[in-house]
């Protein structure tokens, strides 16, 4: 890139920070029960718009044990750019039993360590929800029963804070997926079906993110 080109670039960067982002990007928390596909979704969003990922995905529950943030994710929709920070959170639960990790061929010491990290992470995620997020994407596994107390409580907490929320019915690539059941569980909110793993219906996902959190 020539001198002029890089000069033009840095000018446009300055202009961007001066004019485009006069408001702080909204911080969008990705919440939901363990194993719903939150990190898979966060990674897909980050990869699609920034080129790199947020964190490891795994079929072992409580893989994410610290809230992780990806800043300034710029999503382009219909010529408009929506900038958000995405926060991938540990799956929320009211109980963590370290012996469950043992079933995944994890040694006791490691299982105890993981469960301690998981509990710290969930506590942290609850704190974020009360203080530090401007909107929520609530991810559910469409194969699982959505009528759980944790889901009901979490949606109740989100509603009581007046946060904009989208329900994502994930894993629609699986035969047993039941999107209707999720729509019926939370009729007061918009449900968007998707497969974060396969990338199905991501256009609608980004349309809705831009519309709700832009």
């Amino acid at each position: 890139m020539g001198l002029l080109g890089s000069l033009r670039n840095s000018i446009s960067q300055v202009a961007n920070t001066l004019f485009a982002s006069d408001a702080e990007p909204k911080r969008i928390g990705i919440y939901g029960p363990p194993n719903a596909g939150k990190t898979t979704l966060a990674n897909r969003i980050a990869r699609d718009w920034t080129g790199d990922a947020i964190g490891p995905e795994s079929r072992i529950p409580h893989e994410t044990r610290r809230a992780r943030r990806k800043e300034n994710v710029e999503i382009e929709r219909n010529g408009q750019t929506v900038t958000i920070d995405i926060v991938d959170t540990p799956g929320v639960t009211t109980k963590v039993d370290y012996t469950e990790f043992l079933e995944h061929d994890i040694e006791k010491d490691e299982a105890v360590r993981r469960s301690r990290e998981a509990t710290e992470g969930v506590a942290e995620a609850m704190h974020w929800l009360r203080e530090d997020v401007d909107g929520v994407i609530y991810v559910l596994d469409s194969v699982e029963d959505p009528f759980t107390q944790v889901n009901t409580m979490l949606i109740g907490i989100i509603e009581s804070r007046d946060l904009p929320v989208l329900i994502f019915a994930n894993k629609i690539d699986l035969d047993e997926a039941q999107i209707n059941r999720i729509e019926n569980a939370f009729p007061q909110h918009e449900t968007v079906p998707l497969s974060a793993l396969e990338g199905d219906n991501m256009d609608e996902v980004y349309d809705k993110i831009a519309a709700y959190f832009g």
Partner: protein
């Protein structure tokens, strides 16, 4: 634990039904402390009026900080949806009181409650002996 009464809960499960009135003048943290102290000593707590969403979020947070291997693995919790209780029953209409936020809530120790099932009108707890 009720003031002044000593419990022998060596075996058997104790169930405490806590009236809304008993909770009214408590702060959120006092309520959460009371619930977790009860649950951690193996009891099942039934709250006549439940908790606010904010209190529920703090309950989850504090529960998480208290979980430790081989001692406390967390809680099970179920409650009836707010709507069923806020309809303002016959009594509250008669007295003309504000519709309450009552939502009957059951909370117990996760390691002792085998399952907590719920349908629209019933919560069923399956408790395993220690």
């Amino acid at each position: 634990m009720m003031a002044g009464i000593e419990h022998d809960s060596a075996d058997g499960v104790e169930i405490e039904l806590i009236s809304g009135q008993r909770m009214h003048d408590k702060t959120s943290m006092e309520k959460i402390r009371m619930i977790l102290d009860d649950v951690r000593s193996g009891n099942i707590v039934i709250l006549e009026e439940g908790l606010t969403p904010d209190e529920e979020s703090k309950l989850i947070e504090v529960t998480m900080t208290e979980i430790n291997p081989d001692d406390f693995s967390g809680i099970e919790i179920e409650s009836f949806p707010q709507q069923t209780a806020t309809g303002g029953g016959f009594l509250s209409r008669l007295i003309g009181s504000e519709p309450s936020n009552a939502k009957l809530t059951v909370i117990g120790p996760a390691n002792q409650i085998h399952s907590l099932q719920k349908d629209d009108t019933l919560i069923r707890a399956l408790i395993s002996g220690k």
